[in-house]
Symmetry: C2
Subunit: 367 residues, 2 copies
């Protein structure tokens, strides 16, 4: 039995007992209780563990679920979590008790410490530059990778929009970029490359093997597009590659304050449980609408040591200006990877110079 | 170039020109326009085709996108559609012009007419019973399938929560149900069975081949869990099996009236383009919160003949009472499959009798 925690809002005509009971049935038997045998109900129905009223209409509710309802494939976990109730209203998933799920979920394959060892970066925050824009050729992307590597960037990832288009097909792109990166770095420190291998689940393992054969350092995945379970399968490969997880298409799950997931649950808990070593999320004050409190909560849950998984690196992006890095490091701490695109590409003195300014700031802020 | 249509709401401090421009850049180059070469912008940037103000804050906007931005894998279509902008607000996708995408998307492999031929049901609405609840053994599910088949039900589908759990593993379940169904029906009319094969993309084709080897009549998929592109791949198999698509986990995409997708776009257009022959959606007046107008709009887009795809069957469920079928048939027309679970299972005279009452109503309402 593991618990899912919900914030439930009761609207006119609803009461918390009925709404909670509805969740317990809707996410299991999907039948009225009176026509289901007790032997089935005892086995699969959700069990209300706790209900706490926090305002006139709002309740914090804990419901216990049998692990057996998930089964052999974690795709079904997403269904149990928010399958049919996503079509309701006033139900916000805030937290899962992962302790009971430590046998089912693997969490990050590497986590903060193994990533730091792998990259040989120990006490400071990290930088990640984005290879973009869509429409560039493999050679153009490789040139930009080289410039960023020359400036000393820690990690380069493909822009999440760059996938299997003819502009820069995966094989040609990864070949060009990995070749270009060979000319930079040293024995003790080089730039890591994470290409985007996101594709249909029937092709993603092929992409994984392909980019691995070129010696890449990790992969970029968009779990809400390819399926969360595939990220988990890739995280389970041993020896494997670290994973950067990108939040594409997840926005509607977090934008309604009364329905969906909290950002810290979705990114800090769920992405991490499914195997993300790095968790991309939209930083506050950028092009998206997250608050500083929401960002700090994501950081907290991504790194929280009170769960049976390795800590993950939060990776705030989407409008991080490198000039403001000192403030962000102070606010978020050094176990953070700052994801930068526009502010590097916009620097008048060029990409290489922008990155070397970034690295100076990171080196100067050792905590 | 194909068009996506949006309903855009401008909040305080926003204006429509900037917000539209932001979408054109954010969903392509993800960089400020001034630092991107024209050769790239001309190739990949979204192009505003039309802006029409409908109220003080709300605008209908059409943006054209190059097909080349999608590439070899339709996973990227979901990214182009709502990847990063899902993290914004006030952007509702209402429609895609599919005519330009008829080469990329296949739509339903069977569609209404071929399904009618296959099932030999020509002029009336259809019934679909749900095999449930989760927790039942393969034999218990097979018994229920037999009862429904004895009553003459047209289609049986697994409950969407029944997947790979140990209660009734896929192979044992499909074996038991297909065996049980052999004893019912006639040469001209038998009950079709659609098991749930949803799983991680790496395993779903294995499940497909497995259930096919047992002679099932179609499959149930949860595209938002396994990835839309996989549904499309399965729809592309020829000769293949028809697909019932279930809306699990999609709710947050449609619940905000100002952000996400309209229900008729998501279910009627997108599910259909990606290959759904049957489109499950929550009927009005049931356990979920759709309006009659929204349901009729889904029906319209699912069957609309002005797109390059075969029409799909709308499959309203989630609280359809069979006693009310005459009214629903009148409202929705006969090219509808009525999905029923609780109201059949709750019938005091038993499942077989309930189904035979349903079939009498369907036969009596030929249009």
């Amino acid at each position: 039995m593991f618990s899912i925690h919900y914030k439930i809002t009761c609207y006119e005509g609803e009461n918390i007992e009925e709404k909670t009971e509805w969740i317990c049935l809707e996410q299991s038997v999907e039948l009225p209780e009176r026509i289901v045998p007790n032997t089935i109900l005892d086995k699969v129905k959700g069990q209300v563990k706790n209900v706490k009223q926090v305002s006139e209409q709002v309740f914090e509710v804990e419901i216990g679920w049998p692990e057996e309802n998930v089964g052999e494939d974690l795709t079904q976990f997403m269904n149990l979590l928010f399958g049919n109730i996503s079509l309701g209203r006033g139900i916000k998933v805030t937290h899962v008790d992962w302790h009971q799920l430590g046998e089912i979920f693997i969490g990050p394959g590497f986590g903060v410490n193994r990533i730091r060892e792998k990259l040989n970066i120990h006490r400071r925050a990290l930088s990640c530059g984005v290879l973009k824009p869509l429409g560039s050729s493999p050679e153009e992307l490789a040139d930009r990778a080289a410039e960023m590597a020359a400036g000393g960037i820690d990690i380069i990832k493909d822009d999440h929009t760059i996938a299997g288009q003819n502009y820069a097909p995966l094989k040609e792109r990864v070949q060009a970029v990995t070749n270009a990166l060979k000319n930079y770095g040293s024995d003790s420190k080089s730039t890591a490359y994470f290409p985007n291998i996101t594709a249909s689940g029937t092709r993603i393992m092929h992409n994984y093997e392909l980019v691995r054969s070129f010696g890449v350092d990790g992969v970029l995945l968009l779990p809400h597009l390819c399926g969360y379970e595939i990220m988990h399968e890739i995280a389970s490969i041993d020896p494997g590659l670290p994973i950067i997880a990108h939040p594409a298409l997840t926005g509607a799950l977090i934008s309604d304050p009364e329905h969906g997931f909290t950002p810290d649950f979705l990114y800090g808990e769920l992405f991490r449980a499914f195997g993300a070593d790095f968790i991309v999320y939209p930083n506050t004050g950028g092009r998206f609408s997250f608050s500083a409190e929401e960002c700090k909560a994501i950081n907290y849950t991504a790194r929280n040591t009170d769960v049976p998984f390795k800590p993950a690196f939060p990776m705030p992006g989407g409008g991080v200006k490198w000039q403001n890095l000192p403030g962000w490091i102070e606010l978020y701490g050094t176990d953070t990877v700052f994801l930068m695109g526009s502010s590097l590409f916009s620097y008048p003195d060029g990409l290489k110079k922008a990155v070397s300014e970034v690295q100076k700031i990171l080196e100067a802020h050792i905590i």
